[in-house]
C-alpha cells in the first residue's frame, strides 16, 4: 500500500488507523496538517499534548510567557522545575519527547496585529487558547481575513465554551465566527479573567481536550465539526448544552484594528486620563510615612492571596462606599494590574467630583515585580 507513514509511525498510530472512518488516510492528513496553537497555558497544554500524541505533523506554538508557580495547578505541560522557563520552548521539548515525528515551531512573541496574518497564513487551522478579549478578537478577525478555521475554546471558573468558527461550508461560504456570537466585548472589569476570577484546574483539561478533538476532526474531515454551534459545559452542575450560532449580516471584518482600544483597555483620546503613581513612588511614601489612604478595589479572595494592607473596597461597591474615600488627603487606589482601579477612579471622579485619587500603575503585580518579590503574583 502506498502511504507516507513509516513503520514506526504505523505502529504508533495503530489505534487511529484501526478506526474505519479514520484509517491510514486520516493519519496521513494529520501528518500533513499544520496547526497554530496560540497560548500554551491552560487550554494550550491539553491541546498540544493531544495534537502531538495524535501525530499532527506541523505545530506552531505562540507564547511569549514564562512558567509561573500559579500555572502548575492546571497547565499540565509543565513541571515545578520549569518555573521561570519559556512556556513555548518547554512545551516543544516536552512534545518532542512525547512524539519525535513532528515539526514544532516556537514563536516566543505576543500575538499582535503586526504579526498575526504572517503567523496564521503559515497554518491550516488555529486553536485559540488565549486569555483575554483583545487577543480573542484578534485571533478571530485574523482567521476570517486569512480564510482559516478557528477552533475556539474559553473557560472561566467552572464553565467552558467550545466552537469551530469560520468553517468552510459546502457552498464555499464560511460558517459563523466569534463576532457573530459576540459583536463586542464586555466592558473591562465586568467579566474577570482567570487570574482574577479563578478556574477549576481540571476544567481546561476537559475543554482543551474537546478543542483538540475538533482540530483533529477539521484536519481529517472525520465526523461533524462543531461549526454553527456553541458547546457549553458547567463542571459545577455537570450540565452540558449545545446552542445554535448563526452568521450575522451585521458582522463585517475588513481589516485588523486596535483591539486594546476596541475592548476598552486603551483610553480613547477624548477620555480624561487618571492621575497615576508608580510603585516606586508609593514605596517612598510608605517609607517616609506620608499621610495618604491606600484602597484596594479587588475582590476579597484576591486580597487573601496578596495585599499591601490597603482598605478593601471591591470595584462593584465603590460608588456605594464613596464616603470611605478620603477627600482631604491623597488616596492611592490599586487593583491587580491597574485596570480596575482606573475604572474605579473614573467612576468616583464622575459621580462625586474627587480630585485626589491616584491609580497605582501596574497594580500589585508591579509591586511584586519591582518592590517586594515576597508578595505573591497570581
Amino acid at each position: 500500500m502506498n502511504h507516507n507513514l513509516s513503520p514506526a509511525e504505523m505502529a504508533r498510530y495503530a489505534r487511529h488507523i484501526a478506526i474505519p472512518e479514520f484509517g491510514i488516510a486520516g493519519q496521513e492528513k494529520l501528518k500533513a496538517g499544520r496547526v497554530l496553537v496560540i497560548g500554551s497555558g491552560g487550554l494550550g497544554s491539553p491541546v498540544l499534548l493531544y495534537l502531538a500524541a495524535a501525530g499532527v505533523g506541523n505545530i506552531g506554538i505562540v507564547d511569549f510567557d514564562v512558567v509561573d508557580d500559579s500555572n502548575l495547578q492546571r497547565q499540565v505541560l509543565f513541571t515545578t522545575d520549569d518555573v521561570g522557563k519559556s512556556k513555548a520552548e518547554t512545551a516543544k521539548e516536552r512534545l518532542l519527547a512525547l512524539n519525535p515525528h513532528l515539526n514544532i515551531t516556537v514563536f516566543k512573541t505576543r500575538f499582535t496585529r503586526e504579526n498575526a496574518l504572517e503567523l496564521v497564513n503559515q497554518y491550516d487551522v488555529v486553536a485559540d487558547g488565549t486569555d483575554n478579549f483583545p487577543t480573542r478578537y484578534l485571533v478571530n478577525d485574523t482567521c476570517v481575513l486569512a480564510g482559516k478555521v478557528n477552533v475556539y475554546a474559553s473557560i472561566f471558573q467552572f464553565e467552558g465554551q467550545v466552537s469551530v468558527f469560520n468553517y468552510p461550508n459546502a457552498d464555499g461560504t464560511r460558517g459563523p465566527n466569534y463576532r457573530d456570537m459576540f459583536p463586542e466585548p464586555p466592558p473591562p472589569g465586568l467579566v474577570p479573567n482567570c487570574a482574577e476570577g479563578g478556574v477549576l484546574g481540571v476544567l481546561p483539561g476537559i475543554i482543551g481536550s474537546m478543542q483538540a478533538s475538533e482540530v483533529i476532526k477539521v484536519l481529517t474531515g472525520v465526523g461533524e465539526p462543531l461549526a454553527g454551534r456553541l458547546f457549553l459545559f458547567d463542571a459545577a452542575s455537570f450540565t452540558t448544552r449545545i446552542l445554535k450560532v448563526h452568521s450575522s449580516p451585521d458582522t463585517k471584518i475588513t481589516e485588523l484594528i486596535n483591539y486594546e482600544q476596541f475592548c476598552g483597555l486603551e483610553s480613547p483620546a477624548d477620555q480624561k486620563p487618571v492621575k497615576e503613581i508608580t510603585v516606586q513612588e508609593l514605596n517612598e511614601w510608605m517609607v517616609q510615612g506620608a499621610d495618604f489612604q491606600l484602597i484596594d478595589v479587588r475582590e476579597p479572595h484576591e486580597y487573601a492571596i496578596a495585599n499591601l494592607d490597603g482598605e478593601l473596597i471591591p470595584l462593584g461597591t465603590v460608588a456605594a462606599a464613596a464616603h470611605k474615600f478620603s477627600k482631604d488627603k491623597k488616596v492611592v487606589v490599586h487593583c491587580r494590574s491597574g485596570v480596575r482601579s482606573a475604572k474605579a477612579i473614573r467612576e468616583l471622579e464622575g459621580l462625586f467630583g474627587f480630585d485626589n485619587l491616584y491609580n497605582l500603575k501596574g497594580g500589585i503585580l508591579a509591586w511584586s515585580q519591582e518592590i517586594d518579590a515576597a508578595v505573591p503574583t497570581y
Partner: protein, 92 residues
C-alpha cells in the same frame, strides 16, 4: 415554571444563584422578573434602552432569541432560557 440559567460571571449579581425560576410568558417578561429580583444585574444585561448588551446572548432551548421573535418569544412553562456571556479565559 420556566428556568433562566445564570452564567458564572453574572452570579455575583444573583446572590450566587445559578438558576432563576420565572412565570414570564415571554423572554422579555422573564428577563424583567430576573432583573427586578436581582436589580444589580440589570445594567450588566441591558443597555440604557433596555436592549440586551452585545456581549450577552439569550437562548430559548438551543435557539438564539434573535433567530426567533427576540424579546417577544413565547416561553413555555418547562422552557429553559440560557444567558450566555462572552468569556475569555484560557491561557493564564
Amino acid at each position: 415554571m420556566a428556568k433562566i440559567i445564570i452564567p458564572t460571571p453574572l452570579r455575583k449579581f444573583t446572590d450566587n444563584s445559578g438558576v432563576f425560576e420565572t412565570t414570564g410568558t415571554t423572554v422579555q417578561e422573564a428577563i424583567q422578573q430576573l432583573t427586578q429580583t436581582h436589580t444589580n444585574l440589570e445594567r450588566h444585561l441591558l443597555d440604557d434602552h433596555k436592549n440586551l448588551r452585545s456581549f450577552i446572548r439569550v437562548y430559548l432551548g438551543e435557539d438564539d432569541i434573535n433567530s426567533l421573535q427576540k424579546g417577544a418569544t413565547s416561553v413555555a412553562k418547562d422552557a429553559v432560557i440560557s444567558i450566555v456571556p462572552a468569556i475569555a479565559g484560557g491561557s493564564h
